[in-house]
C-alpha cells in the first residue's frame, strides 16, 4: 500500500509535535533551574515558535498539492514569505519585551535550534521511509 502526501505530512506533524513537547519540557526544566519562571516561558516560546514555523511549511505543501503548479508555488512560497515577515515582527517584539529577562533569552535560541534540527531529522526519516507513488495523487 502506498502513502499519500497527506499521510506523510500528518505523520511528520504528529511526530514533530511529540518532539517539540519533549524539547519544551526539557527546556522548561533547564530554564527554570537556570533563570526561574522566565526560563520556562522562554523554552515554551522557543519550541512552540519552531514547531509553528516548520508545521506551516508542511501544511502549505499539503494545501498547495491540491492546486495546479502555479497554485502550489503560490501557496508554498507566498506562505513562506508571509510567515517570515510575521516571525520577524513577533521575534522583534519578543526581544524588546521586559518579562523575558536577559538571562533567559539564550534559552529561546537553544530551544529553537534544537527543535528545528530535531524536526529536520524527523522529516528526513519519515520521507525516506514513506512509500510514495511515482504518479500524481489526483484521481
Amino acid at each position: 500500500m502506498f502513502d499519500s502526501l497527506g499521510t506523510v505530512i500528518s505523520r511528520v506533524l504528529r511526530l514533530g509535535a511529540v518532539l517539540v513537547a519533549a524539547i519544551g519540557l526539557v527546556g522548561s526544566l533547564v530554564g527554570y533551574l537556570l533563570t526561574g519562571l522566565p526560563g520556562v516561558y522562554a523554552a515554551l516560546i522557543g519550541s512552540g515558535a519552531a514547531f509553528l514555523f516548520t508545521a506551516l511549511t508542511a501544511l502549505s505543501v499539503l494545501i498547495g498539492s491540491k492546486l495546479n503548479l502555479a497554485g502550489f508555488l503560490g501557496a508554498v512560497l507566498g506562505g513562506w514569505l508571509i510567515k517570515m515577515v510575521l516571525f520577524l515582527i513577533g521575534f522583534s517584539f519578543l526581544n524588546k519585551s521586559d518579562w523575558l529577562t536577559h538571562d533567559s533569552r539564550p534559552i529561546v535560541f537553544f530551544t529553537v535550534v534544537s527543535a528545528v534540527i530535531g524536526g529536520l531529522v524527523i522529516d528526513t526519516l519519515i520521507v525516506s521511509k514513506a512509500r510514495l507513488t511515482a504518479t500524481l495523487d489526483k484521481p
Partner: protein, 85 residues
C-alpha cells in the same frame, strides 16, 4: 597609492555608520536561504516540466529541500536572542 586612500575613506565612512547592526545581520542571514529556496523551487519546476507524472514525488522532495533551507532562516531570526548586547 590612490587605492589606499580609497580604502581609508571607505573605512572612515563605515566607522561613521550608526543604528542597529542587527538589521544588517538579518539582511545577510536572508541571502543564503533566499538563494537556496530559489534554487530548490527552480529545479523542481524544471523537473516537473520534464516529467509531469513525477510531480507528487518531486513536491515531497521540494518540501524537504525547503525545510532544510528555511532552518537556516529561522536560526538567523533567532540569533538576536543570543547575540544581543
Amino acid at each position: 597609492m590612490q587605492i589606499i586612500h580609497l580604502a581609508a575613506d571607505a573605512v572612515t565612512q563605515v566607522s561613521q555608520v550608526t543604528g542597529n547592526l542587527g538589521v544588517l545581520g538579518y539582511g545577510l542571514a536572508a541571502i543564503g536561504p533566499g538563494i537556496g529556496v530559489g534554487l530548490v523551487v527552480s529545479k523542481t519546476i524544471e523537473s516537473i516540466a520534464r516529467q509531469p507524472e513525477l510531480a507528487a514525488r518531486l513536491q515531497v522532495t521540494m518540501w524537504l529541500g525547503i525545510a532544510f533551507t528555511e532552518a537556516l532562516a529561522l536560526i538567523g531570526l533567532a540569533t538576536p536572542f543570543i547575540f544581543a548586547a
